[in-house]
């Protein structure tokens, strides 16, 4: 059988514009809540107005009597769920809040659900329930409860890791710092709020709901509703952002599906913005203590990173922030440890760079503080502690162009001109100016995915996998990879995705979706090409007849002998000769265990920030952000840049803006709307520059793709905080940094 080359063709690497762009800007793209099946009821749930206690009374009759209301579902009459909502059917799942009882565990928890003929009637029915509570004092701050030991802070994340001898490292240090950083609770707030339209047909279920993990979600719903996953059709063609919050089924979605079964009619539930603050995940608060030491040459003797992080009273997921200190800087000793605190808040979950974002924020500030204490330029300090192999394990990196990121970022930014002393730079309009930097770092995991490819007689093809376009551009990037895999121009390839009845596209998380789903599509295309090769080399009329020992490559709808453009055959001709109307291939992708065992695989980057601070009023503005990233092969530079920019803006948001504020009495979130839960506006984002440093990584996966979705946050938060210090001489160790912090410091 002939060999076929795994190669990138002319499609990958192009800055192709979004294939779904026109549909989106013209309103043709159908998001979950845009569906209105015949006979549909509207669901509205009542969010708990307290954070801890029990629901003592609901005015059920008043709600039921409201015109248009058809069902009022409370813990008292909630239809049975065949599967246990307290169990965890998959590795990535949480206990689901579905009116198990009248206990309130956090503000915003669903405590009743109303169905009605109109959204207005359901909304009013929910209001008429007028809950009365027996409230207990809520615990919403990290000091409000005793810490507990954690084994697995995040999915698969280790709780405590020690490399080397931290005590010896502390003792050996010529210079040390001991600093504690606080990060607040943050909420994903994807532009599209969570929504579901659920329709039952006997035991068959159709769901329109945004999902970052179609197959996994179906498995969870199948467990809960006692049906086969194969009997669920989940449609998720577009997500208006996910950021980790749409990977795991949550209480409100499950309640709506249950209500649809009860009512025997389709049901739609679409969360309000306020309802996005509670039952659908968030990034929990952390307090991180970093004790770092270095010797007289500025080489780290110890990184000691302890995290105290919030979780709910009924789950364990928390920010595994300390793990950010594993794997980045060379140090003779590295210790990362976690403790949890149970609070009366919704369960935190994966939120864009879960663990890494908070951990990097603290680590990069601590590195800056130590560099300053040791009298070494922050960039030089990082270079002195550059890890050539993974610290602790000694594993080689599958690829690591971080040195080049530092160099290219520093060059573009002009870092060499940075004065060491803080508070010495001024803009012409009298603002304090500061420069800071941070290293970006994010693992490159892969999940498992499958795909199918069908080549038709006319030379066009359909490639299929149940992937997820969260706005990151999967419709485009996956199609580019698919087209290369099957050797066709992009416009001859139809991609089908976002549907659970297709082959499992894996999880769109961990920045691993392009590599995983893309890998499966590429391999399915490759399977078709292999079959074509076999056919052609056995067809006496084919120019490739008898070339069975040569290496073939597929390009532009033709099969060729590698390196010999003159000798080839068109796909359509091969099929015609074989009398086939179509040819189907299948593929899959996952990472062989041996590769994970032998190599450390990460994306890297360097972020440089310039801030201006008003000397009297303390107002901070980021004026420039330059990020240079090495993330394996870049499939689509336009989309990758946009992802990296989005991450950097998220980092800016983390550094200066985002925080949910709990009312101490009720435990409710006071700023549960986008007027007061602050994210940057366009005018806050200036001078953004992204540089991508290409890496040829033969180990990370067959396509050499790492991820770009999350890394942009890491490095950026610290870079901005460090720049604020450099501008003002004031070190703020609590995020977000605000003008009150700088005023207070004077």
């Amino acid at each position: 059988m002939p060999d076929t080359l795994t190669r990138f063709g002319s499609n990958s690497g192009q800055p192709t514009t979004r294939r779904d762009g026109i549909a989106k800007v013209t309103g043709q793209a159908t998001f979950a809540a845009d569906n209105h099946p015949e006979g549909m009821l509207h669901a509205v749930y009542v969010p708990a107005g307290i954070a801890r206690g029990r629901v003592a009374h609901l005015e059920v009759e008043a709600a039921r009597a409201h015109p248009g209301v058809t069902h009022v579902i409370t813990p008292g009459n909630r239809p049975d769920l065949p599967g246990d909502p307290d169990a965890k059917p998959t590795r990535f799942s949480f206990r689901i809040e579905v009116l198990q009882d009248d206990t309130v565990r956090y503000a915003g928890q669903p405590i009743a659900l109303v169905l009605a003929e109109t959204l207005e009637a359901a909304t009013e029915g929910a209001r008429l329930l007028a809950p009365r509570y027996e409230a207990e004092p809520p615990r919403t701050g990290l000091d409000d409860n005793a810490p507990f030991a954690v084994e697995e802070p995040g999915f698969g994340a280790p709780g405590d890791t020690v490399h080397g001898d931290p005590e010896a490292g502390h003792a050996a240090a010529a210079t040390s710092i001991d600093a504690t950083y606080d990060t607040p609770p943050q909420y994903h707030n994807a532009m599209e709020s969570h929504a579901v339209v659920a329709q039952w047909d006997g035991d068959r279920l159709t769901l329109d709901t945004p999902s970052q993990a179609l197959a996994m979600s179906c498995a969870a719903y199948a467990h809960l509703f006692g049906i086969e996953a194969a009997d669920i059709t989940l449609r998720s063609p577009y997500l208006g952002g996910g950021f980790g919050s749409k990977a795991i089924p949550n209480g409100p979605m499950v309640l709506a599906i249950l209500a649809a079964r009860e009512a025997g009619r389709p049901v739609k539930l679409s969360l309000t913005r306020r309802q996005m603050f509670g039952p659908v995940g968030h990034r929990g608060a952390t307090r991180q203590r970093l004790r770092l030491g270095c010797d007289a040459d500025g080489r780290l003797t110890v990184i000691d990173h302890e995290t105290l992080a919030a979780t709910s009273t009924f789950e364990t997921f928390l920010e595994s922030a300390s793990n950010a200190s594993q794997g980045l800087y060379a140090s003779s000793a590295i210790r990362s440890a976690h403790q949890g605190v149970r609070l009366d808040v919704g369960t935190p979950g994966p939120m864009r760079a879960p663990g890494e974002a908070s951990g990097s924020a603290a680590l990069e500030c601590a590195m800056d503080e130590l560099a300053q204490a040791a009298g070494i330029d922050p960039l030089e300090f990082r270079l002195r502690n550059y890890a050539e192999t993974e610290p602790g394990t000694g594993k080689p990196y599958s690829s690591k162009a971080l040195r080049e990121c530092y160099a290219r970022g520093a060059e573009a930014f002009g870092w060499a001109d940075r004065p060491a002393r803080p508070g010495t730079m001024r803009s012409t309009d009298g603002k304090l100016v500061g420069w800071g930097m941070g290293t970006a770092f994010f693992p490159s995991p892969m999940f498992a995915a499958e795909a199918r490819a069908t080549l038709r007689a006319d030379g066009s093809a359909t490639l299929e996998t149940g992937g997820a376009d969260m706005g990151q551009g999967a419709w485009t990037a996956l199609a580019q990879i698919a087209a290369d895999g099957i050797g066709l121009p992009l416009d001859r390839v139809e991609l089908r995705s976002g549907l659970s009845t297709l082959p499992d596209g894996g999880v769109a998380g961990g920045s691993g979706h392009t590599a995983t789903a893309g890998g499966a599509l590429h391999s399915a295309g490759g399977d078709v090409v292999r079959q074509l090769s076999e056919l052609a080399s056995g067809q006496p009329d084919s120019p490739l007849f008898g070339a069975g020992n040569a290496t073939f490559e597929a390009r532009g709808g033709r099969l060729q002998i590698a390196g010999d453009d003159g000798r080839g055959d068109a796909f359509a001709d091969i099929l015609a000769r074989a009398g086939l109307s179509e040819l189907t291939g299948s593929g899959s992708a996952s990472r062989p265990d041996a590769d994970s065992r032998d190599y450390a695989m990460n994306s890297h980057g360097a972020v440089f920030a310039e801030v201006a601070v008003d000397p009297d009023l303390g107002q901070i503005r980021v004026r420039r952000l330059v990020g240079a990233f090495a993330a394996g092969r870049i499939v689509n530079p336009r989309l990758a840049e946009s992802q990296l920019m989005g991450g950097m803006i998220w980092g800016l948001s983390f550094a200066l803006h985002e925080a949910a504020v709990h009312d101490p009495r009720s435990g409710r979130i006071l700023n549960a709307d986008l007027a007061e839960y602050r994210v940057p506006v366009n005018a806050d984002v200036q001078g953004l520059e992204v540089i991508t440093v290409e890496e040829d990584d033969p180990h990370v996966n067959a396509l050499g793709i790492k991820g770009v979705g999350e890394i942009g946050i890491t490095g950026t938060v610290g870079a901005i905080a460090n720049a604020v210090w450099h501008a003002t001489g004031t070190r703020v160790r609590r995020f977000p940094i605000g003008l009150a912090d700088l005023l207070a410091a004077e």
């Binding site: 207005e120 200066l656 506006v681 977000p736 003008l739």
Partner: protein, 350 residues
Amino acid sequence: MKPFDFVQPRSARDAVAQWGPDAAYLGGGTNLVDLMKTGALQPARVIDVTRLPGLDRIEVAADGAVRIGALVRNADLARDADFAVRAPMVAEALLAGASGQLRNAATLGGNLMQHTRCPYFMEPDAACNRRAPGTGCDAIGGAWDNAAILGHAPSCIATNPSDLCVPLAALDAVVEVEGPDGARDIALEELHRLPGDAPERETTLAPGELIVALRLPAEAAAFAGHARYLKVRERTSYAFALVSAAAAMRLEGGRIAEARLALGAVAAKPWRARTAEKMLAGQPPGPDLFARAAEAALAGAAPAEGNGWKIDLARRTAARALAAAAAGTPERMPALPASPFSLSEDLSHA
């Protein structure tokens, strides 16, 4: 939301006649509707006044006074070139408020009458004397640190959030109202009330009184050459002020002939700083003078809920606004909304 009657009267008199105890006038709805959605306000009748004829005009009288109809949209007023020439700091304040979309919808009357952004007022389940008299104040002992620092009371520590009202108070604007008992004028400075022991009475409008117009006296234009609005907040746009200041002066022979200063987001009403104005009058402009005037403007300030930083910030903001006003109104409106970054162009990184 709770069901309600909806009426669309075609004359101001009819609008007033439709008024009843649980009624609310509806302008652009950007504030009222939000509060109805959360359930903080639950009017039984909503009287849409946006169809009232003749209230959407900006007119300049022979004496130079400007009369602005209550239905003029915030965006239209801010972008009216004649108006901006007469009252640049009002235009600057308007453009510093909310977002382009909101300013397109928001009416003048609605902006003057917008409610506090205290989260405990906006949350129907919280105790709030302003929204539900006698229930208490959850903001005290709460977690909102953008509360008042002037004129607050144990009953209420809310602030008035309007940017527009701050320069209007400084410029002696007058509100024209029509009500069940006929028409009358109210000085803008008298429109909003400090809480005292009746925070539920947010304004001095009598029940059923409808704002029909606002008058800016002719004298306002005399300040046009030296007038600035400065708004301080964490993000560049789409955020309410932590503190703001409207400062204006008439300079004659190198001295301040007359000055105006008002602060925003510090009290339940726009805070006119008359003592400071008197200190400034007759003096040559300069940083020391502005610092002393700012000090005087904050006399009597007291933190509520750990927001002492706001007092300091307000003082500095007032001084900076005065300095910016003394430097002169720029020819063109800055590209970005009023902030410490829009006061002077920075050329170091073009």
